[in-house]
Each structure stands twice: as C-alpha cells, then as structure tokens.
C-alpha cells in the first residue's frame, strides 16, 4: 500500500475538517506522509463539507480523485462522491442516515445514533464513532487511535474514547494499513507553517481582519500569542490593519498582516505609503476565486498581477509564492527578513490550497529562516531617516532615541523626512527606491528563487500551490518541473537557466489568463503551452494527468 485515499463527508458543523485531521494523524502515526484537501462552502451550518486525506510513503502535495475508503456521515456524501469509488473501495456510513442501495462496493454501516445514545454523547462525536470504525476497517490498531485521541482531543476524552471504541468494535476488518519504517512528522496547514516561519524570523506583531483563507492564520497567531510573545490585533478594517502595521514598523516592531483579495484592495493605499515612507511590512495574501466576493472558500491564483502592481507610484516589493508547508515556513521567514533589510513591502502570495491544506512537514528539508538584522543607525551625527546610501537603504532608528529625531512622511521628502516638492530631490528619492530594488535582487541571488525537479525536454512551469501536482505528474511522464518561487524582483536569469535545454515549456496555473505566463513574457521568456484551471478547485493529480494526456499528444 503506497497510496491510500480516504474521504470523509458530512454537513458543516459535523466537524469534518477536524475528522480529516484525525485521519491524517492516524496515518502519520504509521509513518505515512499525508496531504489533505478540505472542501467546504461559505456557510456555518449545513451544506456539504468533505476532507480528502491522501497518505503515501513519500512526500505528497496533491490529492487524487479516487478514494479507497469513503466515510459518509450523510446521504449527500454518497451522492456527491460515488464517482470517486473504484471496485475495491470500501464505504463506511452511519446506518441511520445513509442508504447505500445500488452501490456495488463493499461497505459497513455503523449504528452511530445508538452508540451516541448509549454514551449520552453530543452529535459532534458522530465523527469520533465513525473514525473508530474506520480504524477497524483499515486494520489500524486500537492503541494508535487511542493515543491520537488522547493527545489531540483531550476535551471529554473518556467519552470520545468510549464512542470510538464502540465504533471500532461494530465495524469489520477489510484492509491492513502497514506500518512504515519512517518517523512520524508534524502535520500542519500552510497557514500554520507561514505563521511559524514568520515567528522563527523574529515576528513581533500580527494584525489582521478576518477573511478566508487568511482567517486561520489570525486564529493561529492569536492562540499562539502568549507562547511566542506576539502582539496580535484584530482592528476595525483592513485599512486600519495596514496602517497599524506601519505604526508598529515605525516603532521598530516586526509586523505581518494577512488577508485575501477584497481585504487587500482596502490595503493598497497603505501599501503605497509603506513604499514611499520605506516602512517594512509583510503581507500574507491568500488568494481565492474572484472577482469580488467570488467563491470565498475556494482557490485561485488570480491576483498575481494585482499584487505586482498594487499601490500608486513606483516602489520595490518582494513577492514569494510558497508551494507547500516547507516553502511556506522558509519563505515567510525570508519575506520578513527582506522586508526589514530593505525597508520594503514583502508578500507571501498564498492561496486557499496552500493556506488551508494539511501537509506532513519535514523541518529538516525546509531550512531555517533565522532572524537577520536590518541596517541600524550607528548614532553618529544628525540622524536622517532617508539618508542616501550606496545600497539605497537608510539606517533605521526607533523612538525613543535621545540622539535622533525620526520623521517618516507619505509626501515626497528630503533625507531628514520633511516634505518637499523639489524636482531634484524627487528624482533622487525615486532613484533611491529603485536602488533598493537592485540591492534586494542582488541579495536574493543566493536563494533558490527558481527551483527545478527532475529532468526532461518538456517542462511544467508552475508557481505556488501547483508545485505538488506538477512534481508528481512530471515523475509519471518523465518531465522537468520549474517552480518560480520569487515573482518580484523577477528572477529572469535563473528562470532562463532552468529552461535551458527545454524544448517545450507548459505553464500550469489556477487562473484564466496564465498570469505567470504574462509576467514571464514581460521579461522576454515565452512558454509554449498553458494548462489552466479556474473553477475554484485545485488540480487533482488525475486532472493534470488528463490535461497532460491532451497537451502532450
């Protein structure tokens, strides 16, 4: 067994996400690497939610369409997902709520309501009960489930264990998931990896207004504030968010904010202020399906050019797009370091897929984004907040500093930070900002801002969340994968090098206009073909395979 997929479905409020995480943890205990795609509509109660947990002996970053086990808490789960069943699939269902008439696959109904009644358990424990049954069906030994529940669901533990045990005992054995000889890894969402990477690199404050798919980062930061010594603020609007972040930066507090497209629209005026006032800020932009409200809980890569161009005027910015949890951890830290070293806005361009998917996290391969020092004033002479330097970066000072008066300004300003309309200074300050971009680009040379995987005359070119699907599909077809991690400053030479020897480059994106393709063209690089998906759902491995079958003909 090298590839095992389990789908659990029910209504919103059934705890489907947490149930999926629990299933992921069970496989994790057996040494598997997991990936979970969580699909949910924009509502609180009702509707259909599903968690698709894929387990493999190797690192994975994408789901498959077919499932080996389908767990149905309601009838909808059967109706919506029966196309995922193969001949060997097994169905576990709530006897009282689900009918499996006309389904040829083997299955096992559990008396969930009866068990809950016996244990006087609340309805939310239906998923604990059915996961108990799942363990029996897949040959996962009871002590493993017991330890997972004990560690991760300490609330009402005894009752949970009783309910799970009865579910376990009521089910039948069907398969045997073998234990692998490799260590278990932490399993976390992309947003949690982003949070930890920022914290590792020295984050001191996080400010955000809730918006899917960034809300879970705010929740994580707020929950972890005390452990990590963070100031976490949820103010009145995204406008307040970005301005607060700049106030924090002025006072020397390393700050990040998080949002999605609509919230980022409100931040753009503050973004431009950050550009002109040269205040460091990290913005986690979690893309979702647009335009406007679009599909709030579904994915897209449709805001690359918005983020590249947001804000009036010309100023440098760093944009990195992590493709999985390891990337998220490492590059979020890099973003914070670069924001402060070059006093520029730095973006972590994520999407619903990366932000909310669950990954096995291998910290050894992620790399450690250790905190780096910004350029700090040496205290000599008069302090000039916008002093001209060779790198374009002016040394920082923070109030209170008895030796310095620190003036930042949204207007065009002189070196001291006082407003001016002088043409010469206007040119010099614009040159200073452009010089910072050059210095930033040159520092980024040492990073692997374009990654390649495998070899081949044909390459799949991707950014962000399509990394996992491209790598796996490319292996099956003997292709090369080129992942563009940094989108600004654009790593043109590295991309050219990655594509040398490639006859055919196919760009794979979750948008309708091939935005990376357009950005590459602006930099004199043309891709030969496009595979685009923009229905709000991420590519499954099977989706991309089918597309490749068509394109590679």
């Amino acid at each position: 067994m090298d590839d095992f997929s389990t789908l659990i479905g029910g209504i919103a409020g059934d705890g489907i996400n947490e149930a999926g995480v629990t299933i992921g943890r069970l496989f994790n205990q057996l040494g598997y690497r997991i990936y979970m795609y969580y699909d949910y509509p924009s509502l609180i109660r009702g509707g259909h939610n599903s968690s698709l947990v894929r387990a493999s002996s190797r690192k994975i970053g994408v789901h498959r369409d077919e499932v080996d086990v389908l767990i149905a808490l309601n009838q909808d789960t059967i109706e919506i997902h029966k196309s995922r069943l193969k001949e060997s699939s097994f169905i576990i269902y709530d006897l009282d709520k689900v009918k499996v008439d006309g389904i040829s696959q083997k299955g096992c109904g559990l008396p969930v309501s009866k068990i809950l009644k016996e244990e006087e358990a609340p309805p939310i424990m239906r998923n604990t009960c059915i996961i108990g049954g799942f363990c029996k069906v897949t040959g996962i030994e009871w002590p493993i489930l017991e330890s997972v529940l004990t560690k991760h669901i300490p609330k009402k533990l005894e009752q949970n264990l009783n309910v799970a045990r009865k579910g376990y005992d009521a089910a039948v054995e069907y398969a045997k998931i073998e234990r692998l000889r490799q260590p278990s890894l932490p399993i976390l969402t992309g947003n949690q990896a982003i949070g930890l990477g920022l914290i590792k690199a020295g984050l001191q404050a996080y400010v955000a207004y809730p918006m899917t798919p960034a809300s879970s980062l705010l929740d994580f930061m707020a929950r972890s504030a005390q452990e990590f010594g963070l100031k976490v603020v949820h103010p009145e609007s995204e406008i307040a968010v970005v301005l607060m972040a700049l106030g924090f930066a002025y006072a020397g507090t390393k700050t990040a904010v998080g949002t999605s497209g609509g919230g980022f629209c409100l931040m753009t005026e503050g973004l431009s202020l950050a550009g002109n006032a040269e205040l460091p800020i990290v913005i986690m932009m979690g893309q979702r399906t647009g335009p406007s409200t679009g599909l709030p809980t579904y994915t897209a890569q449709c805001d690359l050019h918005f983020v590249l161009n947001a804000g009036q005027g010309e100023f440098p910015r760093l944009i990195v797009a992590p493709g999985d949890a390891e990337d998220a951890y490492f590059w979020s830290g890099v973003a914070l370091n670069m924001a402060w070293k070059y006093q520029v806005p730095a973006f972590i361009l994520s999407d619903k897929t990366v932000s909310e998917a669950l990954y096995s996290f291998d910290s050894a391969s992620a790399g450690e984004p250790d905190e780096e020092s910004p350029v700090v004033w040496d205290g000599q002479g008069t302090y000039n907040r916008y002093k001209y330097t060779e790198s374009g970066v002016s040394p920082l000072a923070f109030p209170p500093d008895k030796r310095a008066i620190i003036k930042v300004d949204s207007y065009t300003h002189d070196e001291y930070g006082i407003t001016t309309e002088d043409g010469k200074i206007t040119t010099s300050m614009a040159d200073k900002r452009m010089l910072k971009e050059k210095s930033l680009a040159s520092e980024m040379e040492k990073y692997e801002t374009v990654k390649t995987f495998g070899q081949g005359k044909t390459a799949l070119v991707c950014w962000g969340s399509n990394k996992g699907v491209c790598i796996e599909a490319a292996e099956l077809h003997g292709l090369k994968v080129v992942q563009v991690v940094m989108l600004s400053p654009f790593p043109r030479e590295k991309l050219k090098k990655a594509l040398s020897g490639v006859d055919r480059a196919i760009v794979v994106e979750c948008n309708a206009t091939a935005q990376l393709g357009r950005l590459a063209r602006c930099n004199g690089i043309r891709f030969d073909q496009e595979i685009l998906k923009y229905n709000g759902r991420p590519f499954s491995l099977d989706d991309l395979e089918a597309e490749l079958g068509r394109v590679l003909k």
């Binding site: 452990e227 010594g229 307040a240 301005l243 507090t253 209170p400």
Partner: protein
C-alpha cells in the same frame, strides 16, 4: 527649553492669518514645558493625516509620522501598543477624521486607547480649495455644493462622548491660554483624549466674527458627569447661528484602556526556537 527651538528649517506655507499658527505655537509651548517638567521629547511622537492641519509635523522638530488622509488613529494606536512609554499625539482635520477616517476615530474612543487627537476643525476643506466638511453648517456653499449643502453637520464632541472617549474638550484658535491648558491636560490624560479646536480658515470659511461673539468658557462644570458633559456638548450643534458656543474641558474620566489590557507579551523573554520545536512536536 525655548519653544522656538522646536521649529524646523522648512518654510511655512499656511495662509497669513490661518488658525493653524495658534495651534503650532501652542504645541511648541506645551511640548517645551513638558520637556522641562521631565517628559523628554524623544518619547513624543506626532502623527498627522493629510490636509492643511497635517503640515504641522513638518514645522515641529519632534518625532513624527506624516500619514495619509484619515489615517492618524491606526498608526498612533500601533505606536502606542508597540511602546506604551511613548506619548502619541494625532493632529487631524475635520475632513480627515470625521469623513475619510471616521471609523478609526470611533474605535479609538471605543478602545479608550491612551493617545490624544487634536482636531483642527476649520469646517472646510482648505488644501483642496473650499469644499464642505462633516462639520460645515447646513446650506454651506462650497465648490462641490454650489447650491448649499443639504445635510446637517455632525457634532464630533457628542459623537466622541457616546463612543467612549474619556477626555473631551474644545478650544478656539483665538484663545491661546485655554488651548495650552487643554492640550497639556489632554496629553497628560490617561486614555483617549479628544480636543476639538475651532480653527479658523481665513481663506475659505472665515468664522472669526461669529466665534468671537459667541464663544464662552464653561467653568465649574462636573467633568466626571457624562450627563452634564452631554448637556454641554449638545448646547451647540455646529449649525445653530444663535446658541452660544461652549469652550473648555467637558469630560475627564479615568476609565479602562485598551493599552492597559492589551496582552503585550515581550518577544525577547521567550526562547522561540524551543517553543517552535515544542509546537511542532505537538503537531505529530
């Protein structure tokens, strides 16, 4: 400290006779006296929005953050949260804080965050050459309302009182002594302080004659009484041409503050690598 030492090298571009000069001079005096009384100015940060008022930060040689239109409060709030030892003073205009950035102003009062906002309330947009603002009287003929406005003015002092501000006062740019007293008390007050300054724009809305006839200073009022403060702030609605205009301190309470209760955990006290390792282990 000589208040005149607090100036900068840049040329002042306010119109001759502008009420902002009184506010600038008052600030110089107040800041110098704070410095002399043991509140060093390196701990003071001024934040301004955009408008004629905002130029004041270019004219005062003190730490400053020249922000964008309507956005003094969020900047000032974060500076205070980053370092509660700093004294943070916002200079804002009526268009700035009451139109573009009204939500922030209400939230500052709601949070009772320990910062001060001085409202340069000239009741007209000066820098954009003469349009009505939220405090312009009904029928005000500005460039965007040539037939006169069709809306009643807002009463910012009343709004601040009901929103939770714990210090509310009003001054007038012809009345430096009161301004000095109000600014100093507002800055020293712990909690959100709001000072409405009737600042005359000589070019687009010259109210000197009207104000000179009608302003009076309230005395012996109970500044701890919400009801009494409400009565005073409602006695002039920014529209009436007859009622007297009260000046002075209307409200002054010691109330719970956001900066007091905010969990400002200090990062340097935490061994982050160990905490990250611990958290990752908890995710297995």
């Amino acid at each position: 400290m000589n208040p005149n030492d607090l100036g900068t090298y840049t040329r002042n571009t306010w119109c001759p006779g502008c009420g902002n000069f009184s506010i600038l001079n008052t600030m110089k005096t107040v800041l110098a006296s704070l410095n002399d009384e043991g509140y060093p100015l390196d701990k003071v940060v001024l934040v301004s929005g955009i408008g004629c008022h905002a130029k004041i930060v270019d004219y005062l040689n003190v730490n400053s953050f020249y922000s964008i239109h309507g956005r003094t409060i969020p900047v000032a709030t974060a500076i205070k949260l980053a370092n509660p030892d700093l004294t943070v003073i916002c200079h804002s205009g009526d268009g700035d804080s009451l139109a573009e950035g009204l939500d922030h102003l209400i939230f500052a009062a709601k949070r009772n965050i320990d910062i001060t906002l001085i409202l340069h309330d000239n009741r007209v947009y000066g820098l954009t050459t003469g349009q009505y603002t939220p405090t312009s009287p009904l029928g005000f003929k500005g460039k965007s309302t040539p037939l006169g406005t069709e809306e009643l003015p807002m009463n910012p002092a009343e709004l601040m009182l009901v929103s939770g501000a714990s210090f509310i006062g009003r001054g007038y740019t012809h009345g430096i002594d009161l301004l000095k007293k109000l600014f100093k008390e507002a800055i020293m007050h712990k909690g959100f302080s709001f000072v409405d300054v009737l600042q005359v724009c000589v070019t687009y809305f010259n109210m000197y004659d009207t104000y000179n006839k009608r302003v009076y200073e309230v005395k012996d009022n109970d500044t701890s009484s919400f009801d009494e403060a409400m009565k005073i702030v409602r006695s002039w609605d920014y529209n009436s041409v007859e009622s007297p205009i009260p000046l002075g301190k209307f409200y002054d309470r010691d109330l719970p503050r956001f900066d007091q209760v905010f969990p400002g955990y200090q990062p340097h006290k935490v061994d982050r690598d160990a905490e990250i390792k611990k958290m990752l282990e908890s995710f297995i």
